[in-house]
């Protein structure tokens, strides 16, 4: 640990990243360019999120990492270990105990509170990329608020599938101004982006962009009047904790098509079970 500066990055780099974060907080939803550093892990492993976490982390923080809702995937464990080693910070899997939460593909079910920071790992920060590959042009579209293309994307979705089939990466408009890619969270999580007590920071390492949502920001999912946004999820309760309103992973149980639905947010599910909520499958297991 002594061979590194606190949280791996040198102070100069952290200051540069903090400036980008502050600018992002000052202009919610705006993509701030930053000079992304090589990290001792491949892109796609959340190097953007890791740099943002490193820049906001203090020795007193308690750090949590979630990957698709779970704390125990290889990716989550390796990032958690990285900060244990380089920053010596305490880690936790309990959402409410954490002060900094780095996440890939999910927002915790439990509402976040003031003083918490949620750091998203972002692969592609540009919501207009799908239809307009030229960076110079997308930058202009943002600055002039030319967002018709976003609706073309949703139009195509409806014309092909009969409804808006986009279920991840669902675009939002921030404070009536910038259209933002919320990273590949399920659209079920979109309502949890807005009016949140915590600070939300988004880091894209390969694409060298940081953007942010300060607490209590208005975030609206794009839609059509006759095809309103719906935060859909599989229509089942969790078989482990019985939760009716949490986002569920579909788990294949055998090779004859058997499947069950379990909370994607592991901490949420375990806390509910500990509090005595029992799902259908759980009872059988215990017996």
């Amino acid at each position: 640990m002594s061979e590194y500066n606190f949280a791996y990055l040198d102070e100069q780099t952290k200051r540069m990243i903090r400036r980008a974060i502050l600018k992002g907080l000052a202009i919610p939803g705006y993509q701030v360019p930053f000079a992304s550093r090589e990290m001792p892990m491949p892109y796609g492993w959340g190097t953007g999120g890791v740099q943002v976490s490193a820049a906001v982390m203090t020795p007193d923080d308690r750090f949590k990492v979630i990957d698709q809702g779970a704390d125990d995937t290889t990716n989550a464990v390796s990032i958690r270990t990285f900060f244990e080693r380089t920053a010596g910070v305490a880690t936790t899997t309990t959402t409410s105990d954490a002060t900094v939460i780095q996440t890939r593909h999910r927002i915790p079910e439990e509402p976040l509170s003031e003083g918490q920071i949620l750091v998203y790992q972002v692969p592609i920060p540009e919501p207009l990329r799908f239809l307009e590959p030229r960076e110079s042009e997308t930058r202009k579209m943002h600055s002039l608020e030319e967002y018709g293309l976003m609706h073309v994307k949703l139009y195509e979705d409806i014309s092909r599938h009969g409804h808006i089939a986009t279920s991840y990466d669902y675009p939002v408009k921030v404070e009536g101004r910038y259209v933002m890619d919320p990273s590949p969270i399920p659209k079920f999580d979109n309502p949890k982006l807005g009016n949140v007590a915590a600070i939300q920071l988004f880091g894209a390492g390969r694409e060298q962009r940081i953007y942010a949502l300060p607490p209590y920001t208005q975030v609206v999912s794009l839609d059509f009047e006759d095809h309103p946004f719906e935060a859909s999820k599989p229509d089942h309760p969790c078989v482990m904790c019985g939760a009716e309103n949490s986002y569920l992973d579909e788990v294949i149980t055998d090779d004859t098509g058997g499947r069950m639905f379990v909370c994607s947010d592991t901490d949420f599910c375990e806390a509910r079970q500990a509090a005595g909520h029992i799902g259908t499958m759980n009872g059988k297991d215990a017996a």
Partner: protein
């Protein structure tokens, strides 16, 4: 009457080479201006200067805006100019690929301008797109197909529908029939004539094909080496050209 567009002293240089030099004319509402000349005479350069794609080195392009009356579009802010480009102005490219989104369905292509100006009702957008496909003689069943599956003539008609759906007040066209088979050209020309007449379109059409201007243009400018050498009513210029170059141009076409 206030001209819809007043072009004044437009000059565009490429280094020391003249793109177009000191071109001016007025276009009145409902008028179609044709610009003819051989390849390299400066037609596209002029058109792109007028349409805001190129910044001229000198001159003004004064457009009678809906809200503020005549405004020089060369000096107006970029956001204002881009707003014009997707509302009151339309641009039909010679190559349909340059004016279409090839990865988006025909309906999405036509609907884009509607969504760009804030339409948010899917059913309405789709109905308008389908209606416009009909107007340019594309079967409604193709509404969800991508333009890559269309013939060249269909792509060009789709590009026209995409441009006209928001009822622009001024349409720029650069060789709209260029690169198409002769029989396809004739059909497209017919269609364009119908649209110009029915919608009372104001348009500026660049072409090297005199048949196009004969059919569509009220007035004509003949360009050579970046300069306008002759201008007048279309029939007058074509039937009784005054400038030696115009005479050559007309006679060479008559031989074809």
């Amino acid at each position: 009457m206030t001209p819809l567009l007043s072009v004044q002293g437009i000059t565009k240089l490429y280094g020391h080479h003249i793109g177009c030099k000191d071109v001016g004319f007025d276009l009145y509402p409902g008028e179609v201006m044709g610009i003819v000349g051989e390849s390299g005479s400066g037609k596209s350069t002029l058109l792109n200067c007028m349409a805001g794609h190129l910044t001229p080195d000198a001159g003004a392009v004064v457009f009678d805006t809906r809200t503020d009356g005549p405004r020089d579009t060369v000096t107006m802010s970029e956001p204002e100019r881009r707003m014009l480009l997707r509302t009151d102005w339309a641009f039909v490219h010679q190559h349909a690929r340059d004016g279409l989104r090839m990865g988006v369905s025909a309906g999405g292509n036509v609907g884009e301008r509607l969504m760009a100006v804030g339409e948010r009702h899917y059913g309405d957008i789709r109905a308008k797109a389908t209606d416009w496909l009909g107007r340019v003689e594309i079967d409604a069943t193709r509404v969800d197909d991508r333009p890559a599956t269309f013939s060249g003539g269909m792509q060009q008609r789709l590009q026209i529908a995409r441009n006209l759906v928001t009822g622009p007040r001024l349409v720029f066209m650069d060789e709209p029939t260029g690169g198409l088979d002769v029989s396809v050209q004739a059909r497209l020309l017919d269609l364009l004539r119908g649209l110009v007449r029915d919608m009372g379109l104001s348009a500026i059409i660049v072409t090297h094909d005199l048949a196009v201007v004969r059919l569509l243009a009220d007035r004509l400018m003949v360009m050579k080496d970046g300069h306008v050498v002759e201008a007048g009513l279309t029939d007058q210029v074509l039937d009784d050209p005054q400038h030696a170059y115009s005479q050559l141009l007309v006679s060479s076409v008559l031989q074809v």
